[in-house]
């Protein structure tokens, strides 16, 4: 708990070096542990501080940018093993909450996937163009704001209709809060948090592919910034 509060205030200061030190001191079992139990709650704490009127949206932007930097540093590993699989990740048009998406991207990378992280707010036409030429096995989407939900169905259906029929994953803060099934296409896999994502990935690699089932062990929401 103490780590979380400390990290949240460091992120709000915008001090990337201190944030890195703080993460190094955290007794992590795995990278997923750092994401799920340190960075995600720290960013949730930042959101909470806004609700308590202790910080402004501008402060949140700074914390996000600092967290982004730390994530890039955490994800950097010079020798990656290759599984030969490809995954691309993007946020819906207008969606700026990308930190969780970036974490998922790096979990895939860690498992030897070749990934393309296309970041926040990507219009559908660009995403489709990219998917057609790059031909990924998995397309990961993230949504954090309720007003972007109406667009979700278009994205999910367009990706599902691609010639290679990639697996379409959906995460984001809302996936942890609400049942997003009505906004997806039939095959969309909804992942509520990082452990669930990792579990899905394991199933996929052992051949379970799209219909890997899950227990309802989801705790906190993910893909959040």
């Amino acid at each position: 708990m103490q780590h979380i509060g400390t990290l949240a205030s460091i992120l709000l200061e915008g001090d990337a070096d201190k944030a890195w030190e703080c993460i190094q001191r955290y007794p992590a079992v795995s990278r997923l542990d750092v994401y799920q139990n340190l960075l995600t709650p720290a960013m949730q704490q930042v959101g909470h501080l806004w609700e308590m009127n202790e910080i402004t949206v501008a402060d949140e932007h700074l914390a996000t940018a600092t967290c982004d930097f730390v994530l890039s540093k955490l994800a950097f590993h010079p020798d990656k093993r290759r599984s030969g699989r490809k995954a691309m990740f993007l946020c819906l048009d207008g969606e700026q909450h990308y930190i969780g998406l970036k974490m998922v991207n790096s979990i895939f990378e860690e498992q030897g996937w070749e990934t393309r992280y296309l970041g926040p707010s990507l219009p559908l036409e660009y995403a489709l163009d990219f998917a057609k030429t790059w031909r990924p096995d998995v397309i990961g989407l993230s949504v954090g704001i309720v007003y972007h939900l109406p667009k979700l169905k278009d994205y999910a259906e367009a990706f599902a209709a691609l010639p290679d029929s990639p697996s379409v994953l959906l995460g984001g803060r809302l996936a942890g809060l609400y049942d997003l099934r009505p906004y997806c296409s039939a095959d969309t896999v909804i992942l509520r948090d990082l452990p669930e994502t990792e579990q899905w990935l394991r199933h996929f690699e052992t051949g379970g592919k799209k219909h890997a089932g899950f227990g309802s062990t989801a705790s906190s929401s993910v893909f959040e910034s």
């Binding site: 009127n53 402004t56 949206v57 970041g119 926040p120 704001i145 007003y147």
Partner: protein, 255 residues
């Protein structure tokens, strides 16, 4: 609800303890859909909790906080809200739109992030290109040269690395297997630096070839430093060290 005729430059709302809107300025009516008459109807759902903590603030000091609100044009717009309770127990709220002030900054930040991400991609693509080039170079650094029906030669160029030997091994083993060669020469004259993992792979290759042909493998053009390294591995059983290609070829030509 009471309309206020004051020409206020910012939207103004008056709200009672229950959240009912009891007064509004012209600008507030222009910006917001006030038809429901309740403050919660023009606030983003996730900001309602935030506002409610100010519902019980007492005293006459004004407070300032940010809220996400629903305007007629936008489903989500950030406002600085200045709130003060009056003696009639009503909250007076002035709403200062914030996005315009932040927008330029946010856009710049996004543009920079976008550029970083793009640069990252370009680097990634270049890295992949480079890896291919290196692999191609490795392939070309150990050409297989058949000299006669029984004799073939593989000159190695450049540094001996594990990657390079791995790359060469595959085609080399196949060629030897297909051609039924008996004598294999490795020319190491053009070898640069030698890495430990590279040497180990090379020795593996040499041993495999020796098994396949049933003969010792001949190494020529060995420089003193490489000789020192190879000496550690006790290869007498597998290889024969010869001085130069010329000497070696003379043996076969006279044969």
């Amino acid at each position: 609800m009471q309309d206020l005729d004051l020409p206020l430059p910012l939207p103004y709302l008056r709200v009672d303890r229950e959240g009912k809107i009891t007064g509004s300025s012209a600008l507030a009516q222009e910006r917001f859909d006030l038809s429901k008459g309740h403050i919660n109807s023009i606030i983003d759902e996730e900001s309602i909790k935030k506002l409610s903590q100010f519902r019980w603030v007492s005293g006459l000091d004004s407070v300032k906080f940010e809220l996400n609100m629903k305007t007629k044009d936008r489903a989500l717009a950030l406002f600085d809200v200045h709130l003060q309770w009056d003696l009639d127990d009503h909250a007076n709220m002035i709403l200062l739109p914030k996005d315009s002030a932040n927008e330029k900054l946010t856009q710049k930040l996004m543009a920079i992030q976008h550029r970083l991400a793009e640069t990252d991609f370009e680097l990634l693509e270049k890295k992949e290109e480079l890896e291919q080039v290196l692999r191609r170079l490795d392939e070309l650094s150990g050409p297989f040269i058949p000299l006669s029906g029984e004799l073939c030669m593989i000159p190695l160029f450049g540094d001996i690395t594990a990657d390079k030997i791995n790359t060469i091994s595959e085609s080399c083993l196949q060629s030897v297997f297909k051609g039924n060669y008996e004598i294999i020469l490795f020319d190491l004259t053009a070898v640069g630096e030698v890495r430990t993992d590279g040497v180990e792979k090379f020795i593996q290759l040499v041993k495999t070839l020796s098994f396949m042909t049933g003969n010792v493998i001949k190494l020529i053009g060995i420089k003193p430093d490489l000789a020192k390294v190879l000496n550690h591995y006790h290869l007498e059983q597998w290889v024969e060290f010869n001085h130069s290609l010329e000497q070696e070829l003379r043996v076969y030509l006279n044969h």
